[in-house]
């Protein structure tokens, strides 16, 4: 497994102009992982994209934390379904070509 960069939550709060409580709530609902090292709390750099999405959903569409959870679950489902569609399309193409 490659090296995982950690970003201090305080830094994120300043950069994105969000309250630390918002990030902690996202963590409490299981949407992001927080890592504690001594007295500092961090999130993994690879989850920044998701965190930004959550901030935008909250800020731009007024979606609350529970709503964000629902949206993310549905988006995950959509991704899985898209993958399934690709596999099924390829399979259909295979059978159509071999009719």
């Amino acid at each position: 497994m490659g090296r995982r960069e950690l970003i201090l939550i305080e830094t994120l709060c300043i950069q994105y102009e969000v309250e630390a409580s918002f990030i902690k709530e996202l963590h409490s609902i299981g949407l992001i992982e927080i890592e504690k090292i001594e007295n500092d709390e961090f999130i993994h750099e690879e989850t920044i994209g998701d965190l930004e999405k959550m901030i935008r959903l909250n800020r731009e569409l007024n979606v609350n934390i529970e709503g964000i959870d629902v949206v993310f679950n549905l988006l995950q489902k959509e991704i899985k379904m898209q993958e399934e569609i690709i596999a099924l399309r390829n399979r259909l193409k295979f059978y159509e070509e071999n009719k």
Binding site: Q15, E17, E52, L57, R59, E60
Partner: protein
């Protein structure tokens, strides 16, 4: 450059109140927001249109100007005067950047002409956001993806070296971290999503990790048995043909199919279908012998 009917974009009458505008905008934004419609170009376009409409209609000053000169934007000194007086003091109520990336250049020509492209901002400081995610298509031959290989692509002026794992599917997408649009206000770069279009340049048919092929089998080998050399993806194999092999018989050659994606050293199967070839242009002697055989049955 066409006139843009911002009221129509938001589905409103010209008499709409501020509250109506906000409500219509929020409703449409929830529907077309790029974070809720990943990789949907139509939604992205629509989102930009409603954002622009909101930028104008939610700002009393801009709305007044739009209502007054909107349709006649190309004519009249008054409009030109008004255009020149346009300042960036207006309050921004639209969306910020990020994956929903919305920059000045995303406004229509109509907007740029009328409002000079200036866009106010209510942000107190520069908020850093990840750059826009970019998408690209890459055409690959089936024979190219039998082995993991590296490829150098030139995208948006930058050279990107990517590793294409063996066994990728047609239509599959991979993410190249940090190779998307530049970060906003020093934020991290977006990601690049590459979609593979796999073109079959071989005689094999592929279904996931399994390969299919059809080979001709002469009547005598089918009846009496023997051996047959068959092409696989990585070379030839000799197959033993059982006596009395029927037409369309399938044999499965384990591990001779396509590599399994991200499972190094693992392969699917090759399914070989035998097509028994009936001899044609029989000689008199052959006909006689077949008739003799027929009588025996």
């Amino acid at each position: 450059m066409d006139f843009v009917d911002y009221y129509k974009t938001l589905g409103l009458e010209r008499t709409a109140t501020e509250k109506d505008i906000k409500k219509a905008y929020r409703k449409l934004a929830r529907k077309y927001h790029p974070d809720l419609n990943p990789n949907n170009k139509d939604a992205e376009k629509k989102f930009k249109e409603i954002n622009e409409a909101n930028e104008v209609l939610s700002d009393p000053e801009k709305r007044e100007k739009y209502d007054k000169y909107g349709k006649d934007w190309m004519h009249g000194e008054e409009f030109e005067k008004a255009r020149q007086q346009q300042s960036s003091r207006s309050q921004h109520q639209g969306f910020s950047g990020g994956a929903s990336g919305f920059s000045e250049s995303d406004f229509s020509d109509f907007f740029e002409s009328m409002f000079g492209g200036a866009r106010g901002s209510s942000h107190q400081g520069p908020v850093q956001f990840k750059g826009k995610d970019l998408n690209a298509d890459l055409e690959l031959n089936l024979s190219d993806i039998y082995k993991t290989h590296r490829q150098i692509l030139t995208l948006h002026g930058q050279k990107i070296r990517i590793t294409i794992p063996a066994g990728v599917e047609h239509g599959q997408e991979i993410k190249i971290k940090g190779k998307g649009g530049k970060g906003i206000n020093g934020g991290p770069n977006g990601d690049l999503y590459i979609k593979f279009n796999v073109v079959n340049d071989t005689s094999f048919k592929r279904d996931g990790e399994n390969l299919y092929t059809t080979v001709d089998l002469d009547l005598y080998t089918a009846l009496l048995g023997g051996t047959l050399t068959v092409d696989t993806f990585d070379g030839k194999v000799k197959l033993n043909i059982k006596p009395e092999t029927a037409n369309d018989t399938k044999v499965r050659l384990r591990g001779k199919g396509f590599p399994i994606y991200k499972k190094e050293g693992q392969f699917g199967d090759l399914i070989v279908t035998y097509k028994v070839k009936i001899p044609t242009q029989l000689s008199e002697k052959e006909k006689e012998l077949f008739k003799a055989l027929q009588k025996l049955r």
